[in-house]
């Protein structure tokens, strides 16, 4: 099968979790779900790699190091002024800004990692062509078996057993 996959909308989160379990039991491997809110069980059933925490840590380290180095460079190298023999590298007073740039770097990295990891921004998506998919952001819990699934040819028939209309999503 070509295209994006087959899609079914269910009425409750519990039904969706059951459906995903059943689909996995039936041997489908490329399962996607689209839900109005986060559902914890799905996170365990459909694990996906998530780099947000690691990138946030790296962002914080880079931000903090850059903030401190900037102050060190400007206070001791670029613009060294001796005021009453006080040390040029007065590290305690560099801490507040180092803290702020750490937080800034981490937060920016977190948001970039979030967008990257969730495939955003994306202005159009094949799913948006399905009218019923508009309910995915408020009350409908969708399960989709992707066209790349090795058993994709059985997907339509299997999804029909869920008792709701099955939509074919074109690429």
């Amino acid at each position: 099968m070509s295209g994006f996959g087959y899609l079914v909308g269910l009425h409750s989160a519990d039904a969706l979790v059951e459906a995903v379990k059943a689909a996995k039991a039936a041997g489908f491997v490329r399962i996607d779900t689209f839900t109005p809110q986060a559902i914890e069980e799905l996170e365990e059933l459909l694990p996906s790699p998530n780099r947000v925490p690691l990138l946030t840590l790296l962002g914080g380290i880079v931000g903090g190091a850059a903030g401190y180095l900037m102050q060190w460079y400007s206070a001791t190298q670029a613009y060294a002024i001796n005021v009453g023999g006080r040390p040029l590298h007065s590290w305690p007073s560099f801490i507040p800004i180092t803290f702020e740039t750490t937080v800034l770097g981490a937060a920016l990295a977190a948001v970039v990692a979030f967008l990257w990891g969730s495939g955003l921004p994306r202005l159009h998506h094949p799913l948006f062509d399905i009218d019923a998919f508009a309910l995915a952001s408020s009350r409908r819990f969708f399960i989709c078996i992707r066209a790349q699934d090795p058993k994709a040819d059985q997907a339509q028939a299997w999804l029909q057993t869920l008792g709701q209309p099955v939509y074919e999503v074109k690429q």
Partner: protein, 455 residues
């Protein structure tokens, strides 16, 4: 295959009225944005606020043309209304971050329906706060000299000054608050995109929703990011008001020079901020009939935070006075006595009444659940906290070391115009927010329905 395919319906708890499903709760909140239920009343408030903003613009333009001489500031009182307003507004902002970040980390369910508008409050209050130090600069058009960038003069900022720390703190705070707010908004923007039938709205909400589809990997990323941002915002909010306090504490003026300032300022910030949340929540729930979502429990819990932080602030006043006498420093002692009996004494006593006496009423359960009483107390706390900032900024400066250099400060009409104008600017931004964005997070309310569903 038999599936339990019935939508979850809320069973009714102190945080959420019974009978709401994911669909109906989305419908109810999106309706406010998509159908403008207030009509002319919104336009009337917005119109009045716009006039106030115009006044703010006029006062700013005149300030740019003539200089800070139009204000009442002079030596020795070089910090007048501008710095008072700065500290007051930034403090108000902190409650939004506290609600959205700290209460999230503590898994407090009652934050869910108030975090969105509290975050908007943070964003607007912090932006307005950020304007005042810039207006105060004397040559505000050179404010970018605070930014460290390679320049022709080969100059760098003074890293040992709290004023430059402040610049980094406020700009980081604004950026992180904006990111936190926007990330939280993305699923709601997608819901609005899907709900509306208006082409123009579909386009704009769709654009800002960035193509959100609610995929499981998107929700996983979203939650990780949201919690991490909350974890980052929590120490950030403490650092911001700490640094604001250091603007004062690092100077050697009696009344400024105290290690008490950072914790005392942070408590004061939460105190005024939660009072502002109550001040905003009560009219909002009445105007949009949101009593099912913003329940008396929400207001009573916020009132408890006001009471707790109010007690810390009161303790701060006692410690400050005690330290002044215990230190044996005659300047500190004279400043403290002047606070109680000098030129600004009526304001000092009014401040104690608003910040220490009035909040004690909140010990009574009946007062915490009495809506008009809560609104009155929260407004008095806001007045009291503004007075506190004014007294710290102004009264401390007007009597410092040498009697020959004493002076006094009287605000001019331009001071007052900028202050009132800044409140109008806040109302203006807030009205735009409630008109175009959902003032309660729909995604989080749906999660709440799922958690509190009928068995």
């Amino acid at each position: 295959m038999a599936l339990p395919d019935q939508p979850a319906v809320s069973r009714g708890t102190p945080e959420l009225a019974p009978g709401y499903s994911a669909g109906s709760i989305t419908e109810r909140i999106a309706h406010i944005v998509l159908h403008d239920p207030l009509g002319w009343r919104w336009t009337a408030v917005f119109g009045v606020a716009s006039l106030g903003v115009l006044m703010f613009v006029v006062a700013t333009a005149y300030l740019f043309a003539v200089g800070v001489g139009i204000w009442g500031v002079d030596m020795p009182v070089a910090w007048g209304f501008a710095l008072t307003n700065f500290v007051w507004w930034i403090g108000i902002g902190h409650a939004g971050t506290f609600i959205s970040a700290v209460l999230l980390l503590l898994r407090q369910k009652w934050r869910t329906s108030i975090n969105r508008f509290a975050e908007a409050m943070t964003l607007f209050a912090a932006s307005i706060a950020g304007l005042f130090p810039i207006l105060h600069l004397g040559r505000p058009w050179f404010f970018y000299w605070l930014v460290p960038y390679p320049n022709k003069m080969t100059l760098w900022p003074q890293w040992r000054s709290p004023l430059i720390w402040d610049f980094f703190a406020i700009s980081t705070y604004l950026t992180v608050s904006l990111l936190f707010w926007y990330v939280g908004l993305i699923p709601d923007l997608a819901a609005l995109r899907d709900k509306t039938h208006n082409r123009r709205k579909q386009f704009w909400y769709g654009l800002f929703a960035l193509g959100w589809r609610g995929e499981t990997r998107q929700w996983v990323s979203f939650n990780r990011t949201y919690w991490l941002l909350a974890g980052l915002a929590t120490p950030l909010v403490v650092s911001v008001h700490t640094i604001v306090a250091m603007d004062f504490a690092i100077g050697n003026t009696p009344g400024y020079h105290s290690t008490l300032f950072p914790p005392y300022f942070v408590a004061g910030a939460l105190f005024s901020g939660f009072a502002m949340v109550i001040t905003l929540a009560i009219p909002l729930r009445a105007a949009f009939k949101l009593q099912a979502f913003i329940t008396p429990t929400h207001l009573a819990n916020a009132a408890k935070v006001v009471l707790a932080t109010g007690c810390i602030v009161g303790y701060g006043y006692i410690t400050e006075t005690f330290t002044a006498f215990y230190s044996g420093n005659e300047y500190e002692r004279a400043m403290t006595l002047d606070r109680a009996v000098g030129t600004y004494a009526p304001l000092f006593w009014l401040m104690l009444f608003c910040n220490v006496a009035v909040p004690q009423l909140l010990w009574l359960r009946r007062v915490r659940h009495h809506i008009p009483a809560l609104l009155t107390i929260s407004i008095l706390v806001n007045v009291g906290m503004w007075l506190e900032r004014f007294i710290i900024v102004t009264q401390s400066l007007h009597r410092d070391f040498l009697p020959s250099s004493w002076g006094s400060y009287t605000p001019t009409r331009w001071d007052v115009m900028l202050y009132v104008g800044s409140i109008a600017l806040f109302v203006f931004l807030f009205m735009l927010f409630i008109r175009f964005l959902p003032l309660i997070s729909m995604a989080e309310m749906r999660e709440l329905v799922q958690e509190e569903k009928q068995p």
